[in-house]
């Protein structure tokens, strides 16, 4: 595949494993073993079975007729919000917990922003009876309270992180520090296609089930495996990577990632990394970053905790610079309106993150016969407070 990671962990000029030596042994073990493990028949069988019976896959591909009518085109929603725990995040954590077991690890750590990855990690840890520690920025702990309660009920220890902006980046820093301090028994389940090689590739492979199913479902519903375009929101970029994966080499399929513009890409309060970022190294990966001229990482802002990250997975930096995918950005306000529109047209309340992709429907030219697939990465259950505040119900 043209957009595959190379043997050094790079997508074009992006990626790699810029790790301190303290992480070398763990990362090296992963790098050497991950492909063999996840390609083995036994792993595949167990993974597929869990995706089916536990996650509830395949997730439906739903033709949104009233939304389609509204936009004068054909819009399908890939319903990752219907997965167990309410988002695409579980696809990855199921894969990684099986991998961690095969590596003999008995303790799991994770970072989380919106809390969806934290819940998905706590869930698989409960499922397999493994100890779980989740790092979460103190700000996110307060804005995503229902997910914190879920993680605790699932038996995870949630550690609020008070450094920096108290959001996803800081939670990731703290998880990396934990791993450095606990190299023997611990596996770090990263929640997106970020971090050192092989994480971006590994997580993309686990999420690729999204586009694998899309191809089958589209063929059934439209007579072709190939849509006109696929849209997905991008924080670190895992749901987008999963939705793009089996279309990367199909040049006729337009791929659109949607970042969080926050209060606008021209303001300081944004998380649209590809718009305002430059190449650098954060969290052990060379990728596009929001940073100042001294190379200090600047604080992102988004209404959605899951997109509030100053970096982006190296695959997306590569798809962006090569032009294979296009990246747009939706503002907080556009997102809230798009969420309400979907709710009223289809009776589906989307996650704030996913609503970024929906809001992009207003920004592109669509013909009546176009087939658009929006990856609905998660459910809005966790965001009810934000919605209620804004709409004043």
């Amino acid at each position: 595949m043209k957009y595959d990671v190379n043997e050094k962990g790079y997508y074009g000029e992006f990626g790699g494993a810029w790790i301190p030596e303290m992480m070398y042994t763990n990362i090296d073990e992963l790098r050497r073993d991950y492909l063999e493990i996840i390609k083995s028949e036994a792993f595949q069988k167990e993974f597929d079975q869990l995706l089916k019976d536990y996650v509830g896959r395949p997730s439906p591909l739903y033709f949104a007729s009233r939304l389609s009518e509204h936009y004068g085109t054909k819009i399908f929603l890939k319903r990752e919000d219907l997965n167990h725990t309410g988002s695409h995040k579980l696809n990855n954590t199921v894969g990684q917990i099986l991998l961690a077991e095969r590596l003999g690890k008995t303790r799991i750590i994770a970072e989380t922003g919106a809390g969806q990855h934290g819940v998905a990690t706590a869930t698989v840890c409960a499922l397999r009876g493994v100890k779980c520690v989740v790092y979460m920025g103190a700000l996110d702990v307060s804005r995503q309270a229902p997910n914190v309660k879920k993680m605790k009920m699932l038996g995870a220890e949630v550690i609020p992180v008070h450094s920096g902006n108290k959001t996803l980046k800081d939670a990731t820093n703290e998880a990396m520090r934990d791993w450095i301090n606990n190299p023997e028994d611990t596996h770090y389940i990263i929640g997106s296609v970020v971090g050192p090689h092989p994480y971006p590739d590994m997580v993309a492979r686990f999420q690729s089930v999204i586009s694998r199913e899309m191809r089958i479902q589209l063929l059934e519903k439209t007579g072709s495996e190939f849509p006109t375009r696929v849209l997905a929101c991008v924080g670190g970029g895992s749901n987008a990577a999963g939705a793009f994966y089996h279309y990367l080499d199909e040049d006729l399929v337009e791929l659109i990632g949607v970042e969080a513009a926050g209060k606008g890409v021209e303001t300081k309060e944004t998380a649209a990394t590809l718009r305002v970022g430059t190449p650098g190294v954060l969290h052990a990966s060379r990728t596009m970053l929001m940073q100042n001229e001294d190379g200090q990482i600047t604080e992102p802002y988004s209404i959605s905790a899951g997109l509030d990250y100053p970096g982006i997975g190296p695959l997306h930096s590569h798809l962006f610079t090569t032009g294979r995918a296009k990246y747009l950005a939706s503002t907080d306000e556009e997102v809230l309106e798009a969420a309400l529109l979907l709710t009223r047209k289809e009776g589906i309340i989307p996650a704030l993150e996913s609503a970024h992709a929906l809001a992009a429907l207003d920004k592109i030219q669509m013909k009546p016969d176009d087939v658009n697939v929006v990856n609905l990465s998660g459910s809005g259950n966790k965001d009810m407070e934000t919605y209620l505040d804004y709409f004043g119900y």
């Binding site: 050094k8 030596e21 303290m22 042994t25 820093n173 520090r177 301090n181 650098g280 001294d294 200090q296």
Partner: protein, 260 residues
């Protein structure tokens, strides 16, 4: 030209005290004075920390000093300005330690040139992996007479230690335990096996032990197994007391080992 790091290890085989501090902490313009006072008090080698917004290999003390330094306005360009005349007064080896991103943004080539100009002898960039260094930056370092100081940990395999020894020219930074900086794990408590194992490998480079060295006992213990030890977090804490720099530095060095 002889590198000062090599001169140090050729002339002094044991009890080398190496001290880390974060540039820009406690105050923006303390850099030169801290270096001068450390030298006066018999410190053998100094690591000048470049603050970074996301120091993932550091514990709370260095995180906080970095945050303060950045708030104070520290950056790479300013730091080179502060070090411009440092070689008029200071003879001991000086090393810059920091994360790779600020160096990449400054430009690796420019950064190394500047280091050479002001009289820096080596760099410790924990998140610049050996493989990236060898394929992209090795020549630049050599041209500027800079040693790249690499780390090993209790988890590092023997084969990799050999590889790191081969690629090193100054000394090897032995991380005392699996830890971020300043962690409470006491050196004497464990990893004697690790220290002895490394000692018996007969590496071509001398070794300094760092991370978790905080007082007279931990320093003395580390010195049994290496040419000396590196203290960071404990020194940062000593600078926080608010006393005159000169006094806190003198008192701190005295608390670690007797004057020679």
């Amino acid at each position: 030209m002889q590198n000062r790091i090599n001169t140090l290890f050729e002339t002094k085989k044991r009890d080398i005290l190496s001290v880390y501090f974060t540039a820009g902490f406690p105050r923006l313009n303390d850099t030169a004075e801290i270096i001068q006072e450390l030298e006066k008090n018999g410190v053998g080698l100094i690591e000048i920390g470049i603050p970074f917004s996301d120091p993932t290999a550091d514990g709370p003390t260095i995180q906080r000093s970095s945050e303060t330094a950045l708030k104070n306005g520290m950056n790479v360009k300013l730091l080179f300005g502060q070090l411009k005349n440092i070689r008029e007064t200071v003879k001991i080896p000086l090393i810059m330690m920091g994360y790779i991103n600020p160096v990449l943004q400054f430009g690796v080539e420019d950064f190394c040139k500047k280091c050479h100009e002001v009289g820096i002898d080596g760099l410790i960039l924990p998140d610049l992996p050996l493989e990236e260094f060898e394929s992209h930056y090795k020549e630049i370092f050599q041209r500027n007479n800079l040693h790249n100081i690499l780390l090993i940990t209790p988890q590092t395999s023997e084969a990799r230690i050999r590889q790191i020894d081969e690629a090193s020219g100054g000394f090897i930074y032995m991380v005392s335990s699996a830890a971020t900086t300043g962690a409470g794990k006491k050196v004497e408590d464990f990893h004697r096996d690790y220290f002895e194992r490394i000692q018996q490998m007969n590496l071509k480079n001398p070794r300094l032990i760092g991370f978790g060295i905080s007082d007279r006992a931990t320093f003395a213990n580390a010195c049994h197994y290496a040419s000396g030890a590196i203290i960071g977090s404990a020194f940062i804490k000593a600078l926080q007391t608010g006393a005159m720099l000169k006094d806190s530095i003198q008192e701190f060095v005295k608390s670690i080992r007797d004057t020679e």
